[in-house]
Subunit: 347 residues, 2 copies
């Protein structure tokens, strides 16, 4: 029997990264290309151009597959990817145009204009590969954690992945599969309201978790304390527009009081989010992923202190820890989605 | 082919109610008995006595089944029921003792002492019925809604049921099945924190949704406004210990300002809960079930107003409505669990 391989594809705003992955989560080959490169330097970037680059990249990986193996699935993690439709819809950071649509329709229907049917096109191009699926980055990360990361040591396939970055994403795994919801938009833990009448959020609401516990939220908390307290801080010397969550981390590690207060506030809000996620789906573990987790105990200590307060007493056997996915996390997440797609075909 | 029937059993603190249910959700026969009746009037109630009463009741229903039908499954809804273990564990309102356990074990292990393995015993007694399962009341109500209530008109099998009563329970259906979580305790929406440092809750935490949006919470809000505002109200004439959510409903319907304020506050907190449930699992519909829903628009109007504020803009196609389950809701919920157990056997 041939060794089963999958291809994991991560569509980022800057680069598209692909890898050939075995069942143990080893990345046997990698390739990448610019996501929004046009054949015409000055012109708009068309979706069909992107797909040609993607086909070529996949073919490079297929050529790299060892003789005794077979690529059985392709998984794609992409912003605003709709699992049911296999399409990327209205992704703010992807400015592809779809020239296959008549211009009247483009103007008339925002969704149709911006609907990029990646899965349908890949199935057409690679008919031998039956299992092809796409979901958003956070869901892919959750499945990556399940199959290749911290989920491997869990007794049950129930976990939550919280991805901290510019935004705050999340993926909920129940009984081995993602909770997609009726329209594939589930897992928006970043947009639960943790502070009624609080900070404005990109989604249009106020007081969302994302506005507090993402890298951007951490930055906003720091600026807020700089503006509204007299606490001395090394962060006051950093140019306002350049202040980042990483700066807050470095300052806090050096004992800066204001920076430590920022992490305390971040831990408070993140604990509300983790406690809520746990009350709703009661996972065996909640994994935190992304840049701000590099702060380590600066984040984890206040988080655990507030979890003791906010987590329902009989839920406290849910473990909360940092992700065990390494550098290839995005590729592994997409590859893990392919594993689930292969399993779904066998059902 | 014989007509498929199921038996739905609702274990309440006072009565155990059973019904014989067809695929369309018609209850063909019913029976009931006191849940905590001992054969010895003054003695403790033993679990094995309870099971004898349950066996008899099930046999009565089996005898009632029409000739051209077959009972293929039994579902049980019970407080603190653990789906995975098929057992009722530490239910506060059920005071059964289990005399099959040696007393040392009883003292040594609280869980074992109070673990009533209903499913195992029923399988032993009724070996011809292969699909037997048990879950808590809110999960059963969610499945009842799915198979026999408002869920019938949904496109996808994704819904949330919120049960309002003395407490606030919830059941999350994703892709046709309950999200049970790693230890069967998922769906505790009543214990998300909506008011840090808020009211004390029976779970040991503070500020839980249940402390505000249950019938008990509504009563507490009314008493709080009576004590801490000067607003005139007909509710002030009711004896403090006897004031109920129903009184608040009657007063509000008559235009009582304080009572209307209570519903506004209730709507605010419930909206936080519904918006959170939606952000996490993105169901096609959220159904509200239980006594306080009889308040109708008094509850629904403020709820919808606050949902416009708290629900993430791209989640607003999730419908929020009252349950479509009628009088036999508890029996139908348990019967629906049996339907899922039958389907699981066929997988």
């Amino acid at each position: 029997m041939k060794k089963q391989l999958t291809i994991g594809i991560d569509v980022g705003g800057t680069n598209t990264v692909l890898g050939l992955v075995d069942r143990e989560g080893n990345c046997l080959a990698r390739t990448e290309f610019h996501t929004q490169r046009s054949t015409n330097e000055d012109g708009p970037v068309f979706f069909d151009e992107y797909m040609e680059l993607l086909y070529e990249a996949i073919e490079r990986l297929l050529a790299d597959a060892p003789e005794d193996s077979r690529v059985e699935g392709i998984g794609i993690g992409a912003p605003n990817a709709n699992f049911y439709k296999g399409a990327i819809i209205n992704a703010a950071n992807l400015t592809w145009k779809d020239r296959s649509k008549p211009s009247k329709e483009r103007l008339g229907d925002f969704e149709k204009q911006n609907r990029c049917e990646v899965v349908k096109l890949l199935k057409k191009r690679f008919p031998a590969i039956k299992a092809i699926a796409m979901t958003n980055d956070a869901n892919a990360a959750a499945l990556g954690e399940l199959h290749y990361g911290g989920g491997k040591s869990l007794k049950r396939k129930d976990l939550v992945e919280i991805t901290l970055g510019t935004g705050l994403g999340s993926g909920f795994v129940s009984n081995g599969d993602i909770v997609y919801g009726h329209n594939s938009f589930a897992g928006e833990l970043g947009h639960i309201v943790v502070e009624p009448n609080g900070r404005n959020c990109g989604c249009g609401n106020n007081g969302c978790l994302e506005a507090y516990a993402s890298a951007t939220g951490i930055r906003r908390t720091a600026l807020n304390l700089i503006d509204n307290t007299g606490t001395p801080s090394s962060l006051r010397k950093i140019e306002r527009d350049k202040l980042t969550a990483k700066d807050v981390s470095i300052a806090a590690a050096a004992g800066d009081k204001l920076a430590l207060e920022v992490w305390d506030i971040t831990g408070h809000y993140l604990a509300l989010g983790v406690a809520t996620a746990t009350a709703v789906t009661c996972p065996e573990a909640v994994f935190l992923f992304g840049g701000p987790t590099k702060a380590g105990d600066l984040l984890m200590n206040p988080l655990k202190r507030y979890l003791d307060k906010y987590m329902m007493p009989n839920m406290r056997d849910t473990k909360v820890m940092f992700s065990k996915l390494g550098e290839d996390a995005a590729i592994l997440g997409a590859s893990a989605l392919a594993l689930n797609a292969i399993a779904a075909l066998k059902k």
